[in-house]
């Protein structure tokens, strides 16, 4: 294949995968999610690996495929399948368009502890049973968080502006999307990522992929031994450095005519610029020796700065979010509601299981039609940072819906059938009489019971003609409809999460006695 075509193929594939993965996060109207495009997520390394660990199913062997691919051609995953890689390329493309000066890359020697330090942290985190560092660094999950919490709200605003304009012209076919306050921690996290990536991309190309990214680092191990590799043909190379100048991984050293293929992201940009046709993508037996690079203090300084930036962005998210979160959960009142356990989505099975498998990619947050799934801050503890929960202040879980369980790529939320889900008890409802309108004002209410899909919340006789809620937790599924519908502040009824999901009893069905005589006179 002509070497220019190799790059074109890479660009085409990267845009294709980027578009398909990206679209998954834009299920704006909660229409029935088409499952087909979800299969593409089997080719995302971390979700596929986590799903394999959680389900041991053969369909989740995508990560093995990616490793094999790397053993054949190097880290082409990083330049085709990885949506965050393509996002970085798009940032680079934009910055090239905006900046008059052409970016020239320079070879950088690898620094072992910087290259492998974050990866070691990931391993350490996994050994201690926490998925936190993976959540923070996994490229797919980071991409998901960026799209869900930054780009998606932008499209919601655009959609609603257009819809309002249209409805003034009596056109109602474009529905508005209910604006639910963007989760500040998640937004700050997404913005932090964007700033980090843009600054890295502009200054140092794909440095993220060779330092912070656990997938890039892991695939780098395999790329060292891959069948096909990029190499400089010493018989043709004249040290001009044009290949090195376009290498966003900064891994081509024209001085000693070597390529550090463990850091190469497989973009194929270096093939064409060589005037002497000296950059080759060939099987390894044609390769020259690769020297191991030495320590570079400049890189260390830069990475420390990057680390400080990242830490600072995390710190701000903490500050912003903890305020909002407290306000939501503990409301100053007659009887404040303090939830002991958050509610996890249907299919999570248990909170511990969910916390250990969710990489917080927020695909379920995007897909959830009622937006009841919202990212958390530290409700699950430090290690559950940004993992979603059922937020019954925002909305409640639709009784007939199982979308989150269908879309989850890691198996943190396992698929549940509709019938299973209708009996799945995510939590139990608790009635707080002291806050209830019927008790405080002695007027009718019953919004909780109205919304209850199983009538676990029933209105029972109270004073005179009044009725007051009563909860039967045997048939409660913990969907949160009662809590959401409750008009008081603080709530008079709330759902306490089950740490282990249970199966509720089926509500008893007593058929109405039907002896209707359609010829009988009207009762008036």
């Amino acid at each position: 294949m002509h070497k220019g075509r190799l790059k074109k193929l890479r660009v085409f594939l990267s845009l294709f995968f980027f578009a398909v993965v990206g679209i998954l996060f834009f299920e704006l109207f909660g229409k029935v999610f088409n499952i087909a495009p979800l299969y593409i997520l089997r080719l995302q390394f971390v979700p596929s690996l986590v799903q394999f660990i959680s389900t041991f199913s053969l369909v989740s062997l995508g990560f093995v495929f990616i490793i094999l691919l790397t053993l054949l051609f190097g880290r082409i995953y990083c330049s085709t399948l990885c949506p965050l890689g393509t996002l970085q390329d798009l940032f680079a493309f934009l910055s090239r368009k905006l900046s008059p000066r052409k970016k020239v890359f320079r070879f950088q020697r690898p620094v072992i502890w910087i290259q492998y330090g974050p990866f070691a942290l990931v391993i350490l985190s996994l050994l201690t049973g926490s998925i936190l560092i993976v959540n923070l660094l996994d490229p797919y999950s980071a991409f998901g968080k960026i799209v869900t919490n930054f780009f998606r709200p932008l499209t919601v605003v655009a959609n609603n502006l257009l819809s309002v304009a249209l409805s003034k012209a009596d056109i109602y076919w474009l529905p508005r999307i209910k604006w639910i306050a963007v989760n500040k921690a998640a937004l700050a996290f997404a913005l932090g990522w964007i700033i980090l990536l843009v600054s890295l991309v502009v200054k140092r190309g794909r440095l993220y992929c060779n330092t912070l990214c656990p997938v890039g680092t892991l695939l780098g191990f395999f790329a060292r031994y891959s069948l096909f590799r990029i190499r400089l043909d010493k018989t043709k190379c004249n040290y001009c450095g044009k290949c090195s100048a376009v290498c966003k991984a900064e891994c081509i050293s024209p001085f000693d005519q070597s390529v550090d293929f463990s850091r190469c992201v497989g973009c194929m940009n270096c093939l064409s610029p060589c005037p002497d046709n000296g950059v080759k993508f060939q099987p390894f037996w044609k390769k020259d020796e690769v020297e191991i690079a030495a320590y570079d203090p400049g890189k260390r300084k830069f990475l420390i700065e990057t680390g400080v930036l990242l830490a600072a962005s995390l710190d701000t998210t903490g500050f912003v979010f903890s305020n909002g979160e407290k306000k939501k959960e503990v409301i100053k009142a007659t009887v404040p509601i303090v939830r002991k356990h958050p509610v996890t989505p249907p299919g999570a099975k248990s909170q511990a299981r969910f916390n250990s498998l969710c990489t917080a990619c927020h695909l379920c947050v995007s897909a959830c039609p009622t937006q009841v799934l919202q990212p958390t801050y530290f409700i699950y503890g430090l290690t559950g940072f940004l993992q979603p929960r059922m937020d019954y202040i925002t909305n409640f879980c639709n009784f007939e819906c199982t979308l989150c369980s269908e879309v989850c790529p890691t198996g943190a939320i396992l698929p549940v059938s509709k019938d299973e889900k209708k009996l799945l008890q995510l939590g139990k409802s608790y009635f707080v009489k002291e806050n209830c309108v019927v008790y405080t004002k002695e007027t009718v209410c019953g919004a909780c019971s109205e919304h209850c899909p199983t009538k676990a919340v029933k209105m029972v006789p109270y004073k005179e003609k009044l009725t007051i809620p009563e909860v039967n937790n045997n048939i409660c599924v913990g969907c949160g409809a009662c809590e959401y519908a409750c008009p008081t502040d603080p709530k008079s009824i709330y759902v306490e999460g089950n740490q282990l999901h249970l199966v509720a009893e089926k509500p008893k069905e007593l058929k109405i006695e039907e002896k209707i005589d359609y010829k009988e006179e009207f009762p008036f």
């Binding site: 502006l161 639709n398 309108v437 899909p453 509500p507």
Partner: protein, 306 residues
């Protein structure tokens, strides 16, 4: 709040830009006064939904008695829940379809259908069968899922409810057809015509906090009243309302009530359900506030048994 305000202002600006391109939306066709109706209330039973409506509306003088040529009509069924028609949680889609057809035959320029639902709105519209029914009949489905579809209005006759945010389609339409389904209800015993109007306003929580029965009657005093109330009592949820738990809650009453008087329609439907209007507090309150008449013997009632 500041961000929200900013967004609202932005939306307002865009809306202004959009509105300036469109026909003036303040244009309202109130039409010429209609001739007096033949009956105050018509009750019919024993047939299919379409047939019962055909006969009832004919006895009332035809849809032409309510809809004039070129008018904009809004039909407000109960589409509150994400449940299938057999569960009787929403208005019968076959009836909705027939009503829209009658409106268009009478010369309506366009017929809109919407509700401020309880479950997720688009799922309710689809599962209830009403979206398809409206499309089949030539009506237009409109959403009511965000606050900026609703405009604040004064309710001078209200006791507890002095203002409400009302859907712009209700305010802008010439004809407002209220299409409740008769159902048991955990808060108010029954939901019928007046209670169905909770689906044209935004903040229902306020009603629940401030004596729900009084607020229901208060809103019924608002000037933009339904032109016609069509009470669907074909399938009736006898218990576990308003959402219902299963089809076991449903009884096939095969009945229909139409009236221009919401209070009369509610009183008749209550009796049909098997209880007395006095058992449903908001009916009595509305009667005493002069919104309508709950004493059916004072009215000119026409009864049809098929």
């Amino acid at each position: 709040m500041k961000r929200r305000e900013f967004i609202r202002k932005g939306i307002g600006a865009a809306a202004f830009a959009g509105a300036s391109l469109s026909v003036p939306f303040s244009k309202r066709l109130w039409g010429t006064p209609l001739p007096p109706l033949t009956y105050d209330l018509i009750a019919i039973k024993g047939g299919e939904a379409e047939l019962m409506f055909d006969q009832a509306i004919e006895a009332m003088g035809g849809m032409k008695a309510f809809v004039q040529k070129g008018q904009k009509v809004v039909v407000k069924p109960n589409i509150g829940w994400d449940v299938a028609p057999e569960r009787a949680g929403n208005t019968n889609p076959r009836l909705v379809k027939r009503v829209i057809q009658h409106c268009l035959e009478a010369g309506a320029k366009e017929v809109y259908v919407f509700d401020n639902t309880c479950d997720k709105w688009d799922r309710c519209y689809a599962t209830s069968g009403i979206q398809q029914a409206a499309k089949d009949a030539g009506g237009k489905i409109a959403p009511g899922n965000t606050e900026n579809y609703y405009q604040t209005v004064e309710i001078p006759g209200g006791k507890n409810l002095k203002t409400a945010k009302v859907h712009e389609l209700i305010l802008d339409s010439d004809v407002f057809i209220n299409m409740p389904v008769l159902k048991s209800h955990s808060s108010t015993k029954l939901t019928i015509a007046m209670k169905n109007l909770m689906g044209v306003v935004w903040d229902r929580g306020y009603w629940h906090r401030n004596d729900l029965n009084q607020c229901i009657a208060d809103y019924a005093t608002y000037v933009k009243k339904p032109t016609l109330n069509i009470v669907d009592a074909y399938r009736v949820m006898m218990k576990n309302g308003p959402r219902g738990v299963s089809e076991a809650d449903v009884s096939l009453l095969k009945s229909l009530i139409i009236s221009a008087d919401m209070v009369a329609a509610d009183a008749a439907a209550t009796k049909l359900f098997g209880i007395e209007p006095d058992d449903v507090p908001y009916i009595g309150i509305a009667d005493s506030m002069g919104i309508g008449t709950m004493s059916l013997d004072k009215l000119n009632v026409h009864r049809i048994i098929l």
